[in-house]
């Protein structure tokens, strides 16, 4: 019992430290990705390649003056960013990152806790998440903020339906609500992942889930709650300093949760795309070794003066990571972590890619799309899946 508490505390600390660091650096990655899509270098001044930019941003946000406009609803105005942040961070505790491991001789899972209704828990928390935004908009006593809050609640109610129905279809294939068991049923290679699995591959469902996820996290092309040309900054117009930052962090935390859910439901969680006996465990070594070799090559022939130092160091770091992946004692937890991270990373990259590519929807288009296209499509997909699953069994 004591070891259980100690291990749980360690896991909570590790997961939240990693999550919060990822949140900070996700923003740097997003700025870089969008910058490169638009053919500009992006953050470059603070640290090599702007790598210290998140730290500078944190210092800036903390030390900024914390304004409170005079006519706000005080309690709700203060509670809203807190609610947004808490609810956004809460769902991470049921997300499994890997299989069972031994930590100091004690068996434990790479997951904070496994609920037998894990999927429903995430849905419940995300359905509560709208309150942070809605109350922020209402309590600010500002017409732009109110309109942003209203848009956000309408949008989240509408897109929650296709999202839940899209989630139900892979659950029919896996026949469980526990996220850990859900991943276990998808073991054995890419053909067993729910997105490609018989009797009915859930490709349509996956696409619907991703589209609804963009809307649920208020991301482009569904970022109408903060459309700056219409609503200044939307629901967080009146917020400054760390209160503004908590909305920002909540958005990125939601992005991570939703990407993890997509990976767990459709892409086989931490499972490798093909079994280890056909050499899937060599992939991370090859990836990191190639990255290290490329960095070293460019370090020897530097295009800019600073590359003479930064690139060789990066190369050596990558090669070390590649070597670590070869150690047999860390492989059983590092490999699942690699595949999980790679899949979540690809989906997060898609989020950024779409943001750099698509313009914003008009408001009536947004609602019409959810109710006239996405919802019937999700319904049809669920119906076909249900019939086929019943027919096969």
């Amino acid at each position: 019992m004591d070891s259980f508490i100690v291990i749980s505390l360690i896991k909570v600390a590790v997961v939240f430290a990693v999550l919060l660091t990822t949140l900070a650096y996700l923003q740097w990655v997003e700025r870089k990705v969008i910058a490169h899509i638009q053919v500009r270098p992006g953050p470059y001044r603070v640290g090599p390649h702007g790598l210290l930019q998140p730290l500078a941003d944190v210092v800036k946000l903390i030390t900024k003056e914390d304004l409170r406009p005079p006519f706000v609803h005080k309690a709700l105005y203060l509670a809203a960013p807190f609610m947004a942040m808490t609810l956004a961070l809460m769902s991470i505790c049921v997300i499994p990152f890997g299989p069972a491991i031994h930590l100091g001789g004690v068996p434990t899972w790479m997951q904070l806790t496994d609920l037998n209704i894990g999927v429903l828990f995430v849905l419940a928390v995300s359905s509560m998440g709208v309150y942070g935004v809605a109350f922020a908009g209402w309590a600010s006593n500002n017409k732009y903020a109110l309109l942003g809050g209203l848009r956000s609640s309408a949008q989240m109610i509408s897109y929650e339906l296709p999202m839940s129905i899209a989630i139900a279809a892979p659950l029919l294939l896996s026949n469980t609500l526990s996220l850990r068991t859900l991943v276990d049923t998808q073991a054995g290679g890419i053909w067993h992942w729910n997105v490609l699995r018989g009797p009915f591959p859930q490709i349509v469902s996956f696409v619907i889930f991703l589209i609804a996820a963009f809307a649920e996290t208020n991301r482009v092309p569904f970022d109408l709650p903060e459309a700056e040309n219409e609503l200044v900054a939307g629901f967080h117009t009146e917020y400054s300093s760390m209160k503004f930052a908590s909305f920002f962090m909540a958005e990125y935390a939601n992005m991570i949760t939703v990407s993890s859910m997509a990976v767990l439901l459709f892409l086989g969680g931490w499972m490798a795309p093909w079994p280890a006996r056909y050499g899937s465990s060599v992939v991370p070594v090859l990836v990191f070794a190639c990255a290290g070799a490329i960095a070293l090559y460019h370090g020897i022939r530097p295009a800019r003066r600073r590359d003479r130092y930064s690139l060789p160091v990066t190369g050596v770091v990558f090669l070390t990571v590649a070597a670590v992946f070869l150690l047999p004692m860390v492989q059983n937890w590092l490999l699942p972590l690699f595949w999980f991270g790679a899949k979540v990373g690809s989906i997060l990259f898609t989020f950024m890619w779409v943001r750099g590519t698509l313009p914003r929807f008009r408001y009536d288009q947004l609602m019409g799309f959810a109710w006239k296209w996405l919802f019937p499509a999700a319904m049809l997909n669920l119906l076909v899946t249900g019939f086929l699953v019943a027919w096969v069994s």
Binding site: N116, I117, L120, F121, W138, L150, S153
Partner: protein, 166 residues
């Protein structure tokens, strides 16, 4: 542990429920109602009915209350004025409330004797599988009747909303 949690969340639920009535501003009332729903979900969870707890949060706290809040925000409802209470309400309100609570408690005690009550975590019919099985076998007819009722309500809402457009 279970008893402490039960007391905390039951008291919280009752306090929130009283607050729904006491508050003058509709949005604070709505927030109190969300508090009631959420603490009820915790009580279900304590009993061992996980699925019901999740459904409670998803449907009531997450969907219906969002609609309430949405409408309150859309109408921009302000704080309500407190009208003076009638003499009868002042005199009889508290005694009548106490009497009602007493009668309810008495009948609950009579109808459900001690032996038939469930203990914390002892309720086994609350998982997703059990609820689904019960809905589609034992309670199939009420379930289908309820779905048709809801469908009629949806159609009625659309007809009413459409009439306003012309």
């Amino acid at each position: 542990m279970d008893v402490i949690l039960f007391l905390v969340f039951a008291l919280f639920a009752v306090a929130c429920a009283i607050n729904v009535v006491v508050q003058r501003h509709p949005i604070t009332s709505a927030i109190s109602l969300i508090g009631v729903m959420a603490s009820l979900a915790v009580l279900y969870l304590l009993l061992g009915a996980e699925f019901i707890a999740a459904a409670q949060v998803i449907v009531y706290a997450g969907a219906i209350m969002v609609l309430f809040v949405f409408v309150i925000m859309l109408l921009n409802a302000g704080a309500e004025l407190r009208s003076g209470r009638s003499l009868m309400a002042q005199a009889l309100g508290v005694p009548l409330l106490a009497a009602l609570l007493g009668i309810v408690a008495f009948f609950v005690q009579r109808l459900f004797p001690r032996e038939t009550t469930t203990h914390f975590g002892g309720f086994t019919g609350g998982g997703a599988k059990e609820v689904g099985r019960a809905l589609f076998t034992t309670y199939l007819l009420p379930f289908e009747a309820t779905s048709i009722l809801i469908l009629i309500a949806i159609v009625g809402a659309i007809v009413l909303a459409h009439k306003e457009l012309d």
